[in-house]
Amino acid sequence: MNVLQQSVPLSWYLLLSALLFALGVVGFLIKRNLITVFMSIELMLNAVNLSFVTFAHQWHAVKGQIFVFFVMMVAAAEAAVGLAIIIAVFRARATLAVDRIDLMKL
């Protein structure tokens, strides 16, 4: 009946999700550009979203999918705020290298 369930096993989705998450973590850790770091965080977030959707489908629970919408909505708001902060930081420091933004005070 369910094409998705029959054709692709559950573990593949989870593996993809873990891979995306690990990519996000690595990107977060090794990238120096603040925007890239920010994108890495988004990547981790969506990796988790993917596992949410997977399990929701697996257990036939719609709650997981609703959660994903909430997460995406919050992520959109967060992205707006985050980008605004990044612009403010760039204006103040004239750099986006995270290593050089280690002081709260100017």
Binding site: V25, L29, I30, V98, D99, I101, D102, L103
Partner: protein, 647 residues
């Protein structure tokens, strides 16, 4: 039911109100208002006491008045203590002395302390003293009396150290306080014994219980009485705790007159008289009181012979006269002791106030060797002082004659070995007469030995009290021990030995006056006729003279045997072992742990965002690993079985 009111609590509370007003607002109030408040309080108290005395005299109220339904202070188990006041002949006499003499000294202080910066502070303390002293006297139970007892000690401490910029005054205050604490400890133990044996601290109840058991003597009663007497030796400056009183002269002179001569130091005598029912049941305690009293009288009088500071002569004289009072108590002649307490309050307050007037007129000089010839400059002071000197030396018909005579006769009437005490008292009378006339000659007669100062008579606010006290010093004894004893009898009982009269007493009186005359004659020879003789006697007898000048080295002995060892112990044990090693070590240890922890933990707080994230990721990974690890099977493989793993 419609008995006229006595307002007993007000006697104590009015001075307390004065203390509160002057103590809190005095700094900002004008001087005249401070004086008004300070004088109004004792004046009002005195008027209430006179009013009460009048009611008693007319028979409107019958003593003893024991207040019923007083506010309860402590009610715990079997212990009940209230704020009840007692008015009996004993407390009435004391109240008249305290508020009367106290008021006069307040008036005197207005003149004497006029130029002091701490004027308001001085009067606040003085009113506080009156509050506590009246509480002490009015108290119907031992614990309330102890409140007053401690309170007068506090007021005394504050007033001795009134000039707190002076190290010696501060030290003297501390000395007075510490030495008094030793005595107070005895008082406390005595109270515990009372509570343990009688189950109450109320004097009347104890007296009732004792009278119900006429066979009960000695033993625990002796112990109780002696403990209470230890308290009395502290407060009333008896051997071996007298040492604080001479040093207490660092305080302002009116304070010396009020607290350290007329009232507070007599609290011990009052306490012994108040608890006489205990002492009466213990011949041992009575003998101890008599012997300590007589020994102190003689001891202090000998030191008084060579003092050169006018106030110190009077201080040792006070110690000596207090010894007389205890001698009286010790031979169970309580009314004679209280009689002497009263006359002594008059003439000793007068002596101190006159000495204060002299010091005031001499611009602060207290050394008698630098005085002389003041008679022409200060006639009023001179004549009032003369009355006081004659009174204390025991000349007929001055006040001291009657009271001292009564005590000496009571001691003599004991007969047997106790007549030694009478003899000691007689020798003391000789010495007293000598050192008082020595003071009199050195201060007022002869030629001035100091031409730098221009002595002047004091203002009338100071002379007025002198004149009134002089009148009392002359007439205060005329009431006679007979009538006085009759009046006091309901409170302290009457002893056959006190009955007196007859040729023996007349003979003893003549002997006492002769002895006083001899003392005067010797002083006259030494300090008027041939002034060089005293100095030559001193140089020819260097040993005894130095012994007296150094006050028998008692301070040095106490310092060596008590103060130094305690200080050393404190330095070593408390300061080095407890403070530095234990407490300091603990503090260092705790500080060290915190510092070390901080040094390690601060590495994590690098401020580097990526290192935080890396730690976070590592932590998450570690947790994940921990959760996913098949612990139980791993442990089982090395032979350890945990949890729910079943076989």
């Amino acid at each position: 039911m419609n008995e006229p009111l006595l307002f007993l609590p007000l006697i104590a509370l009015l001075p307390f109100l004065g203390f509160l007003l002057n103590g809190t607002l005095g700094r900002k109030l004008p001087k005249a208002l401070v004086s008004t408040i300070a004088l109004a309080a004792p004046a009002a108290s005195f008027l209430i006491v006179v009013h009460d005395a009048f009611l008693v005299w007319t028979g409107a109220r019958v003593m003893p008045v024991i207040e019923k339904g007083a506010p309860v202070w402590i009610s715990a188990g079997t212990l009940h203590v209230d704020f009840g006041c007692v008015l009996d002949p004993l407390s009435l006499v004391m109240l008249l002395i305290i508020t009367g003499v106290g008021f006069l000294i307040h008036v005197y202080s207005v003149g004497y302390m006029a130029h002091e910066v701490g004027y308001w502070r001085y009067f606040a303390y003085l009113n506080l003293f009156l509050f506590f002293m009246t509480v002490l006297v009015l108290a119907g139970n031992a614990l309330l009396m102890f409140v007053g007892w401690e309170g007068v000690g506090l007021a005394s401490y504050l007033l001795i150290g009134f000039w707190f910029q002076k190290t010696s005054a501060v030290d003297a205050g501390k000395k007075a306080f510490v030495v008094n604490r030793i005595g107070d400890f005895g008082f406390l133990i005595g109270m515990f014994l009372l509570l343990a044996n009688f189950g109450t601290l109320t004097f009347t109840e104890i007296a009732t219980k004792l009278s119900e058991n006429p066979a009960w003597t000695g033993g625990v009663l002796t112990a109780t009485a002696l403990c209470l007497f230890v308290g009395a030796t502290g407060k009333s400056a008896q051997l071996p705790l007298y040492i604080w009183l001479p040093d207490a002269m660092e305080g302002p002179t009116p304070v010396s007159a009020l607290i350290h001569a007329a009232t507070m130091v007599t609290a011990g005598v009052y306490m012994v008289a108040r608890t006489h029912f205990l002492f009466d049941r213990s011949p041992v305690a009575l003998s101890v009181v008599a012997i300590v009293g007589a020994a102190t009288a003689l001891f202090a009088a000998t030191i008084g012979l060579v003092q050169t500071d006018i106030k110190r002569v009077l201080a040792y004289s006070t110690v000596s006269q207090l010894g007389y009072m205890f001698l009286g108590c010790g031979v169970a002649a309580y009314s004679a002791a209280i009689f002497h307490l009263m006359t002594h309050a008059f003439f000793k307050a007068l002596l101190f106030l006159a000495a204060g007037s002299v010091i005031h007129g001499m611009g602060g000089e207290q050394d008698m060797r630098k005085m002389g010839g003041l008679r022409k400059h200060m006639p009023v002071t001179f004549w009032t002082m003369t009355a006081a000197v004659l009174a204390i030396a025991g000349f007929f018909p001055f006040a001291g004659f009657f009271s001292k005579d009564a005590i000496l006769f009571a001691a003599f009437a004991q007969g047997g070995l106790l007549r030694v005490l009478w003899f000691v008292g007689l020798v003391t009378a000789l010495l007293t007469s000598f050192y008082m006339f020595r003071l009199w000659y050195l201060t007022f007669l002869g030629e001035s030995r100091n031409h730098d100062v221009h002595p002047h008579e004091s203002p009338w606010s100071m002379l007025g009290p002198l004149v009134i006290l002089a009148a009392l010093s002359v007439c205060g004894g005329w009431i006679g021990l007979g009538r006085f004893g009759e009046f006091l009898a309901p409170a302290v009982g009457v002893r056959p030995t006190e009955a007196g009269g007859g040729s023996t007493e007349l003979f003893l009186s003549i002997v006492a006056v002769l002895v006083a005359l001899i003392g005067w004659y010797i002083a006259d020879q030494f300090y008027r006729a041939k002034p060089a003789r005293a100095a030559s006697l001193a140089t020819s007898l260097p040993g005894p003279y130095n012994l007296l000048v150094h006050k028998y080295y008692v301070d040095e002995i106490y310092s060596f045997f008590v103060v130094k060892p305690l200080l050393t112990l404190s330095r070593f044990f408390l300061e080095w072992v407890v403070d530095v090693a234990v407490l300091g070590g603990l503090a260092w240890l705790l500080g060290g742990i915190a510092q070390l922890g901080g040094a390690i933990l601060q590495r994590w707080q690098s401020g580097n965002l990526r290192s935080y994230a890396a730690w976070l990721a590592l932590g998450a990974a570690a947790l994940l690993l921990f959760v996913l690890m098949p612990w139980t099977s791993l442990l089982a493989s090395i032979g350890i079985h945990v949890g729910m793993v079943a076989h």
